[in-house]
Amino acid sequence: MSEPFNPFSEAYASHNLADQARSLSSTVLLAPAQESRRITALRHWLSQIAEALAEKCSQSPDTSQRKKYSILLFHVRGLASHINGANHIVPPGIEVVLKAFQEQLYPNSITLLNLHALGIGGRDGLCDITHLLSQCDIHIPQIQGTPEKVFIANCRLGEQDNILASPLNIMAFYLYIALDGIDTRSHNDTTGRWLPLSDAIAVRALGPAFLFSQYDQLEKPLKVEGLPLQVLEAEGWLDHPTMRPLLDLVPHSESEGQGTLDTPEWKAICERIPAYTPAQFDAEVPILWERLKQLLPPNELEIDGVESDKPASLVSILNAGWSFYLLHMEDLYKILGSKTAQDRYDAKMVLNRLLTKGVELSQITQTWRTARKAIGQ
């Protein structure tokens, strides 16, 4: 005779969790008509994990194990909901920039951009799941095409095409993720300076544009900690004739972060993350300004040639965008006949469109050149 049905029993709780996993396993496969192959592979992998989880739950009514299964299910569900929420059939400008940056850091990864009411952020959506799989003793080999990393990016709804601001903030998170292996967080836990260090890494890799982008998100100016400015000084930005006057405008506190640039951790970061230098800025940005003044996307550095041989770098495009916005917008206002506040907003959106196209075309040109080399052309 079978046990009487008891919805309050341990066994029923395990069955319930198993059924939730089964339901998630089928739900995660419900894909839209257009989706990248990497995301499709990720969906199938998550579905298989949920299926395996269902089996485990059915077999083991053990409470302590069930807690681990429940946490894994929570993370799988979370990533699945990010995949569904990030299904932009037309990527907003910010996604174009983030994908280009992610391709440089981890070519076999994906970016899932979610638009929210609050907050800007980024994290790796796979690391928790990978960690929990081994804890739960579940071994599902990754399906071919499953991304190496899943960058989950959050941006405020309405800011998705303002590529002057949000992408640079999220790129700072990407850089932090790329530093796994260097224990930056423990350093920060003791000093309480996680954010300035993250900003310092971002300003090293992304140049002054990162610092300027902070102010596009705020209702009132905040003081920048001293550390990011020390990094700019170390790279020679404070002696740069064009950028120095702009950097002088940034409100900052002097005393923070003394000695950080001499630590072994910072030296390890410097080895991993190359700096964007004033020399690169001088070699690329004035050419890109000239293109913007002609209502052209800043995608290439060759101004007198026919074939696109010299695609501009992503970081130079973003620095060209910010320095153009701060120094040369009057030129754009003149071309566009901008007089009112609405006109100036429209002109800013023209600049954003040109920068977005610049990033997209420079990325395509680089990919095309690589493919041509691969087939020996």
């Binding site: 059939i89 026919v306 695609p311 566009l336 006949g337 006109d343 075309l361 095309w368």
Partner: protein, 210 residues
């Protein structure tokens, strides 16, 4: 008086090397020998990754005279970006809007005419009618694609799909510098829906109907 002859490949390349404002910009040119052969009189343009697909909907008709009637039609379009690694299928009789991968800036003394490549036309893919591109245009070109054949055709971004020929017009290239653009209508970076409802003619047409 300048003649209105068509520009050959060599001359097109020459115009691309000139300084602003008489410079012709077509960017990116991913393979110059393929896209602008010296002997040809046009530039091959590549298919971009963004598309607008018309859906069959509950809207009864499009009456361009009523600007508002275009709004629901706009809502009945689906926008897609398949990425350079993706593809889209155009089915028999289907109509869709695409854009060139290239971003163009036409100087004031040139005008362009866009047509499909005959190789695509022979398998049924038509790039609508010849599209005029006016002096001073700056942006990506919207292409009107229709499959007139009986077999679905797979479209891959990056393929050479259309061509643009350039003709001289009797205008001073320097006038580019004094031109004022309207921010909302400049620097298109993907396919754009019809703005027929904004035509100034409708006031007059409406008056005739009173």
């Amino acid at each position: 008086m300048t003649s209105t002859s068509v520009l050959g490949g060599t001359e097109i390349k020459q115009r691309m090397r000139e300084p602003f404002p008489s410079k012709l910009v077509i960017t990116p040119i991913l393979n110059g020998d393929q896209q602008i052969p010296d002997h040809a009189a046009a530039v091959d343009l590549r298919l971009g990754p963004q598309f607008i697909v018309a859906k069959r909907s509950h809207f009864a008709q499009i009456d361009a005279r009523d600007a508002d009637s275009l709004t629901p039609v706009y809502q009945s379009q689906e926008h897609f970006d398949v990425g350079m690694e993706g593809e889209i299928v155009i089915h028999p009789q289907q109509f869709l809007l695409a854009a060139t991968l290239e971003y163009l800036r036409i100087p004031m003394d040139l005008t362009g005419s866009v047509i499909g490549r005959s190789s695509w036309g022979r398998i049924g893919l038509i790039i609508a009618t010849a599209t005029a591109v006016h002096p001073g245009f700056t942006g990506c070109l919207t292409l009107e694609l229709q499959n007139l054949g009986d077999t679905p055709i797979v479209l891959h971004p990056g393929t050479r799909i259309a061509q643009i020929a350039f003709y001289r017009v009797g205008a001073d290239p320097e006038s580019f510098t004094s031109r004022v653009y309207r921010a909302k209508y400049v620097a298109a970076i993907g396919p754009e829906f019809s703005r027929l409802g904004n035509d100034a003619d409708w006031k007059m047409i409406n008056q005739l109907k009173r």
